[in-house]
Amino acid sequence: MSEEILKVDGLTKVFNGTLTAVDHVSFSVMRGEIFGFLGPNGAGKTTTINMLITVFKPTEGKASVLGFDIAKQDCNVRNVIGVVPQEYTADEDLTGLENVFLCADLYGIPRNVAKERAAELLKLVELTDFKDKKVQTYSGGMRRRLELACGLINRPKVLFLDEPTLGLDVQTRAATWDYIRKLKKEFGMTLFMTTHYLEEADALCDRVAIIDHGKIVVVGSPEELKHSLGGDIITLGIKEDADVSELIRKVENVKDVKKEDGSYRIKVENGELTAPLIIEALRRKGHAVTRLSLTEPTLNEVYLEYTGRSMRDTEESREAFMAQRMTMRRARGR
């Protein structure tokens, strides 16, 4: 379990000698893990993935996949990895099956084996009924699933997913997560993915690295990261106008209390256990709690804490990306 599948040491990419996209990044991924690279757009996620899949040459630093150096043994690396790119790379003019066969040919897989695997994979991603339809008739979710099937044709030991749910609606996104979980379970493979959806990283990843401005700010499991923020948040209101901040502050495990327009925002450790204590303490002094909510910190807070950037920035660039893709589709005449 603790075998290092992916080992990255001081990986750096400088474009045109001036733009540092990835800045001395180091981490490792263990066998069977889903490792997430989380960060705003332009943080260097895709550049990192492109170096690991041997499409870009690193300017500095080292990385190895299953012990193969990405710079010196790039051909070996390409044989053991699968890639699901950010874009829809399947050829629109070909059918789903033809696209899977094309990928099989790129790995030199003979047609009889490819047929077997394609049938199996298309069944897994539930595209069997559509395999003979041209890809241009596919929906976004179907295309993403087709990309997954293509990325798995060579039975990779490590699968790289670059923004696997970019541009998908919420339902399709959740369905794609299920496929990814299924993959991990069925093939026991190691997954490396980038995303800027926090829920996605939280729901899927065993460990997450938050990357910003080309540097890794923090690595850890989503639980650890959330915990590192220091506890849960309780929001409560009471009937009377009296200020009970001091009273709450004396309760065990309470770290901070803020009064905000008639309600109290309380930072606590072990929220589930502390909340009853607070209610009890207030009631003893004759204050009735009228409402209470308990929020566990999400990766959202972690992300904000470490990158100092709000999600809106990244949403905007996502829209720009989608707009660009629409333009390109229009340019192709549809």
Binding site: F15, N50, I53, T54, V55, F56, K57, L66, G67, C75, N76, R78, N79, V80, I81, V83, P85, Q86, E87, Y88, T89, D91, D93, L94, E98, F101, L102, C103, D105, L106, Y107, G108, I109, P110, V113, N154, F160, M328
Partner: protein, 301 residues
């Protein structure tokens, strides 16, 4: 450690898969396929038949001087015969054949090759933009194969179109030379193969780093027409000004067209033919090598 890839791909694997991907887009799309056949027909019909240069020299188009006393019918007949002979000798002298249509129909083949190979560069840009290029780069297919599949698909398309052009030209009245044999057709395909490999490698080398369509489009357009007109495609180079003759002398298109003419419509001059093949062959090898070296260097950023 188990075997990496139980199928141990060879250096050349994936070449046909990638080539066929390009070709499928062409022959599976009826409209594009039809257009690529209609285009040469249109060009040939319009250019070849409208520029009826042979008719310029026919006797009836030259007014006879009104002499006093008028010519006897016998003399007129003699004169007519003289003009008729003049026409074919002028045509033979200028075009090496009496039929201008045959002359330019062959030029059309090179014209089509130029415009078909032009798109091989464009499709590299497309693949880059759509992310397919990165996807292909992450598979064990060699870099050279990725580039060469583009070259090969453009070449095969051009060769197919050349075949169509020859068929149509024959239907429109192409006159084969005295030394024509069915074997000559093979020679034609061989020289078209060479020039297309050279040209598409050239266009790919121009576009390989580009992520935008506009820049390579402009560059390719800039060099395409000059390559066409600074050659013997539509007119013999010997009537061109010296500087243009020099350009045409280095232009591989000229040699291609000359080779096709030697094979199809001229009385074959084998020394000239050998020279043509050597020149175009060297051009193809050099440019294809440059293309492959560039692909190693620049496909991976």
């Amino acid at each position: 450690m188990s075997k990496l890839n139980e199928y141990c791909p060879s250096r050349l694997h994936g070449l046909w898969a990638l080539t066929n991907r390009e070709l499928k887009k062409w022959y599976k799309a009826p409209v594009i396929f039809l257009l690529s056949i209609i285009q040469p027909i249109l060009w040939m019909g319009l250019l070849g038949k409208s520029m009826n240069i042979g008719a310029v020299f026919t006797g009836s188009s030259i007014p006879l001087p009104q002499l006093n006393p008028p010519l006897t019918p016998q003399q007129l007949q003699q004169l007519g015969g003289y003009f008729a002979g003049l026409q074919s000798s002028i045509m033979l002298n200028a075009f090496n054949t009496t039929d201008y249509f045959s002359f330019m129909a062959v030029g059309m083949i090179a014209f089509t090759a130029l415009f078909t190979t032009m798109f091989s560069g464009m499709s590299v840009v497309w693949d880059r933009r759509l992310g397919f290029l990165n996807k292909a780069l992450s598979t064990p297919v060699s870099r050279a194969v990725i580039i060469f599949s583009k070259v090969l698909s453009a070449t095969l398309r051009s060769m197919f179109q050349a075949g169509i052009i020859i068929l149509i030209a024959v239907a429109f009245g192409l006159q084969f030379g005295a030394s024509f044999t069915p074997l000559s057709i093979l020679g034609v395909f061989a020289i078209i193969f060479l020039i297309c490999v050279g040209l598409s490698s050239l266009f790919i080398a121009i576009t390989i780093r580009s992520t935008r369509m506009e820049t390579p489009m402009a560059v390719v357009n800039l060099i395409n027409l000059p390559l066409m007109f600074a050659s013997n495609a539509f007119f013999p180079t010997k009537f061109m000004p010296d500087w243009l003759q020099t350009v045409a002398k280095f232009n591989p298109i000229s040699y291609t067209i000359d080779a096709v003419r030697q094979l199809l419509i001229f009385n074959t001059d084998y020394i000239q033919l050998a020279l043509d093949f050597t020149y175009v062959g060297i051009f193809a090898v050099i440019v294809a090598t440059i293309g492959i070296v560039l692909s190693w260097r620049f496909l991976t950023k």
